[in-house]
Symmetry: C2
Subunit: 659 residues, 2 copies
């Protein structure tokens, strides 16, 4: 018996702690299994009743007869461990734990030793719609008919099982398997995506995520799903959370959990949606399709029977940078408001679906959608709808038309915002990134692997990665002699000062020896611990950039490039990718940074050396290739970008291990 069989197709299910009071949560799984036609044996386990809701019950798992493939545990927290022991004793391969409240350590250690795989704790259970397994406490299962389909769903929130099922049902969208993973003490999102990638009944995989607990396994599973032609879509909470409070660099502060996860999803080919209903409605748009990997802004053609209704979607597409085009027409929208006939609508739609001038088609239907589907809904169904991605928005409340479209596999949306969100998510969809095998990098043997590097050490590390660094020298007391030509900058040499400028530990634009001496004296008064001083050449260029690297606790190494100075922080103007990145990928990142537009030729300003900047971004990201890399965060801020070449004038490097 495979894990998938025990989870989704158990021949017998034990309901541990099943209540005989039909009003209680713990009575629901028995009711729901029966209501929705479970064909296997149901074995209620109840310490004080011999019958539960009409079924013979047993005092403990040990007493229950026959083989049991799956135990659903609802007992109070203290009793969970005993139930797991019993599962182990009689060879129950999978236990789903609804309970919470047991010891912090959780039951998974004991369960693993006993050979019992665990879903949960805090799992609301799972549902296999075509298989008629409704093993869940979710109250939405009171509904009469579960809509079957080929979309599967894995969720951190158990409530969302009911949310997607009931909302799907109201518009004719069906599901295959739905799983509430709870706290993922054992079976996690990644493993479930692996199982669904192998599941012949699943064509699209939807995820409702509160976090990512095993980034490597989920990434591998997403790649496996991609290889199997199954799109993976994520709705992820936590977008408004601020960056990690402990961040030691700008990179750390900027690359907060959510931005890093965005880079992660992109890296492993997961489509990310912004709105909750998009997650439900997007499946038909993606099903059977592969990532468009568009190298430019997407172009959408529009046909409509309502100007205002079409504009409500087009407006939003514009906010996503998606262009509206109309092949062979002057207006950007083909508006059939006053002239719609079924024949005209089909003809217009088929023209657009065949046109090489657009990447997708939006069809909008106005008031007729509710009571006169023959006018525009039927023509959509009859169109050559698989030739190109087709999204439909119906302006009125029109559940029957939504269901009609869903039945034919046409992606139909209830709101203009979800419609635009889905199209934008589709066009942003990329294949999982494949990396050329890169040579590993080396940690310079004379640099420490703990604490923080000082200025000179940081510049040395950057140079070792092949990044051009500013000419510099250490000037020692008492004479502070150095050979750097004026004008120069002087910095207190210390790994302990995080924000040197604010601490008065930096003097810029020093014109001559006398000014340097005055500057050093003043600086040493403010930063008494420092004695030696770093003297470096004053550099200027066309723009300043911030280039960063971070070993993110959730998704691993990431690379960052942003506008220099305080711009990246104030305007959140930066681009992120999982590290390492190639120079081409770095150029793509640079193109996403608005504040670096000046480098690409803004108005009549001279162009900067974008390629050299890209090389520096790629070089710093190679920190990810150092075996057992000690670096937590590394940052060049600023990297001066010139007409030719770049130069790093300030480096900050913090290790994972602190003293």
């Amino acid at each position: 018996m495979t894990l998938a069989q025990a989870l989704f197709a158990p021949r017998a299910v034990a309901l541990v702690g099943a209540s005989g009071d039909a009003a209680k949560n713990s009575a629901r799984p028995l009711r729901f299994l029966k209501k929705h036609g479970y064909a296997g044996r149901i074995v209620p386990i109840n310490a004080s009743r011999s019958k539960v809701l009409g079924e013979p019950a047993f005092g403990s798992l040990a007493e229950a007869p026959g083989a049991i493939d799956h135990a659903f545990i609802m007992t109070p927290g203290d009793w969970v461990e005993r139930a797991i022991d019993e599962c182990g004793a009689r060879g129950v391969p999978v236990a789903t734990i609804f309970s919470d409240g047991f010891a912090d350590a959780g039951p998974e250690g004991a369960a693993r030793e006993l050979g019992v795989r665990v879903l949960g704790p805090n799992s609301m259970g799972l549902i296999d719609v075509p298989g008629r397994v409704a093993l869940t406490v979710n109250a939405v299962l009171e509904m009469d008919a579960l809509p079957a389909g080929t979309t599967s769903f894995v969720s951190h929130s158990g409530t969302m099982l009911g949310t997607v099922l009931s909302r799907g049902a109201a518009r004719g969208l069906g599901f295959a398997k739905l799983v509430s993973v709870g706290n993922e003490s054992d079976i996690g999102t990644g493993e479930l995506v692996e199982l669904l990638a192998e599941d012949p009944g699943t064509k699209v995989i939807l995820l409702f995520l509160e976090t990512v607990r095993d980034d490597a396994r989920l990434a591998a599973a997403a790649r496996k799903a991609h290889a199997a032609g199954k799109p993976v879509v994520a709705y992820k909470l936590g977008r408004s959370r601020l960056g990690a409070a402990l961040a030691r660099s700008h990179t750390g502060a900027l690359a907060g959990e959510d931005a890093a996860l965005d880079a992660y999803f992109r890296d492993c080919g997961i489509v990310r949606v912004d709105m909750l209903e998009t997650l439900i409605e997007i499946a038909p748009l993606l099903s059977g399709r592969t990532p468009p990997n568009l190298p430019r802004a997407a172009r959408v053609a529009v046909v409509t029977t309502t100007g205002g209704g079409a504009a409500s979607v087009v407006d939003r597409l514009g906010m996503f940078g998606i262009e509206t085009v109309a092949p062979d027409s002057e207006s950007p929208i083909i508006d059939l408001t006053m002239t719609a006939t079924a024949e005209r609508y089909t003809a217009a739609l088929d023209d657009l679906l065949a046109s090489p001038q657009c990447d997708g088609v939006l069809a909008v239907v106005g008031s007729s959608a509710q009571f006169h589907p023959q006018l525009a809904v039927d023509p959509i169904v009859r169109s050559k709808r698989n030739a190109k991605p087709l999204a439909v928005f119906l302006t009125p409340h029109a559940e029957r038309s939504l269901a009609l479209l869903a039945e034919r596999g046409v992606a139909a949306f209830r709101t203009p915002e979800a419609c635009a969100d889905a199209l934008a998510a589709y066009f942003a969809w990329r294949s999982p990134r494949t990396r050329a095998a890169a040579a590993s990098a080396e940690w310079p043997p004379d640099l420490p692997r703990r604490g923080r590097l000082d200025e000179r050490q940081a510049l040395k590390l950057l140079a070792s990665l092949g990044i051009s660094v500013v000419a510099h020298a250490i000037a020692q007391p008492p004479g502070y002699a150095h050979a750097i030509p004026y004008p120069v900058a002087a910095k207190a040499l210390s790994a302990d000062i995080l924000h040197k400028t604010e601490a008065g530990a930096v003097c810029l634009g020093i014109a001559d020896r006398a000014e340097l001496d005055r500057g050093i004296r003043a600086m040493l008064e403010r930063v008494p611990a420092s004695r030696a001083v770093l003297v470096q050449k004053m550099e200027s260029g066309l723009a300043e950039a911030i280039v960063g690297y971070r070993d993110d606790p959730v998704v691993g190494p990431i690379a960052l490039v942003g506008a220099g100075g305080t711009l990246a922080e104030i305007y959140k103007d930066y681009a992120l990718r999982l590290a390492p990145v190639s120079e081409d990928e770095a150029e793509e990142m640079i193109a996403e940074v608005k504040g670096l537009a000046t480098l690409r030729g803004y108005r009549a300003l001279p162009r900067g050396d974008v390629r050299a900047l890209a090389k520096a971004v790629a070089a710093l990201s190679r920190l990810a290739l150092i075996a057992g890399s000690p670096v937590a965060e590394a940052e060049i801020n600023p990297l001066i970008v010139k007409r030719e070449g770049v130069v790093a004038v300030d480096g900050l490097v913090a290790m994972k291990e602190q003293d």
Copy 2:
């Protein structure tokens, strides 16, 4: 008979061009009037039939018997004018024109002379739900029962009448009057809002806008509605449209139609929503309430039976800058997932609704909402729900619960995004701005009123408004003598060069006489037309700001302040208000500009003179007070902000009348 009576309560309606073929659009008004119980006389006008759908028909308006209060005209465009003539001849006070395609000039001139008020052309008609007047071609009226309520709706899109009616009906939200204004040749949105402000059946007014055609009338009407305690809410298309192509300044390019309209809505107390369904769902949240006029970030308390469901709203609230607070609790959300009973839910909700620590309450209900409303939906209905704004989000498809809440006047939302959008719109809601009577300003008599001002004239205008301008002088050939102390800047004196820096018409940081002479020679080679040169003192400060003024074609004079240099443009980092603004209002604007955060004490950087910047913004905005002001656009870019004071170093002023 008042206009409102003729529009919404006609004793007899003539349907001009009513078709006898029930399948045609032009047969619908007759069917819909009868279907929905119209109590007045229906008079079909049809040139070729004596009966239309069972009703006696007449060959022309002239032949129809009895008084007719309202004519609904569906004849082909060429025939519209004749129908209007006939309306005039027999004293029909209002004609709604569905037709389009008549002469460009439109029928409104003739209609006005004849004393006929016109709704349309291109109007889909209007509906008075409680009054049982369904005078429209909108196909959604095929629905059996129209939900009556106290929310009225004015729309540029006729389709949207059906959209809001049918979507409202599906969740128990009713309507009073719904009007499709079409092209507003005569009766416009402003006049209709006036009528609705006086309408005892209307408590909330919703607008679906494609543009604003009469800003002054709509603003006055919105103020009238505010005075009557009736919130006005707008959904406005065109958010992604770029600024006017003909803009001559940054201010013009930035303050595109949509941003200017945002300032306009705020000015006249109109609530703006971002999403289409928010427009439908927000009414109960606003009904009977006044603007909160919050001087700080809003605080919302949350009670839920689903962690994931609550997070989907809270996440979005965070993106709007709304804080989640939990009085007397460590967690920011009161999560009753495992412990919900009706009593606990009501108690938790009432505590929050009574707490002075939050400005509003969000209640989220999970899977129980669909089949067990007694668990959380009933408790919401029983709570002290009017004590504070209360928004409810239900995670499953739960139309009956939505209807139950709507029936009791509780604002309930189908999606987390619309729920957050509505709360954000409510908290951003402000009373219409009242302006202290300000002294008018004067146009300096020696400045031209056409074309553009040159640099010196622009500085003179700024100084006349009380703005501190850079020390400057005109240096004339051949000697170019001047008395400005070095270092100086030199600029070619010309009103014709728009982007002086790019044109090579500016020399900065000139250290001495010799350098000035070289600079002037080089400049005159690049800009041969210019002879005299403006010499001005080099200024520096803590930050640069852009301060702008524009007489917007849609909403009139507006004031702008933004981050200097190219930041305002690259990052769309600016604040707009209708002009004139007071100094306090200008300070509020400055606080909205991220790039000016440095002035308010960013990290350890010194603070700038925000008050002096505010004075300059207010001073420039007084251009709006000049009687018959000739200025189309005026801009200071940059205004240098110092620790004390500000100084304008560059001015651009373009008149409405060009040569």
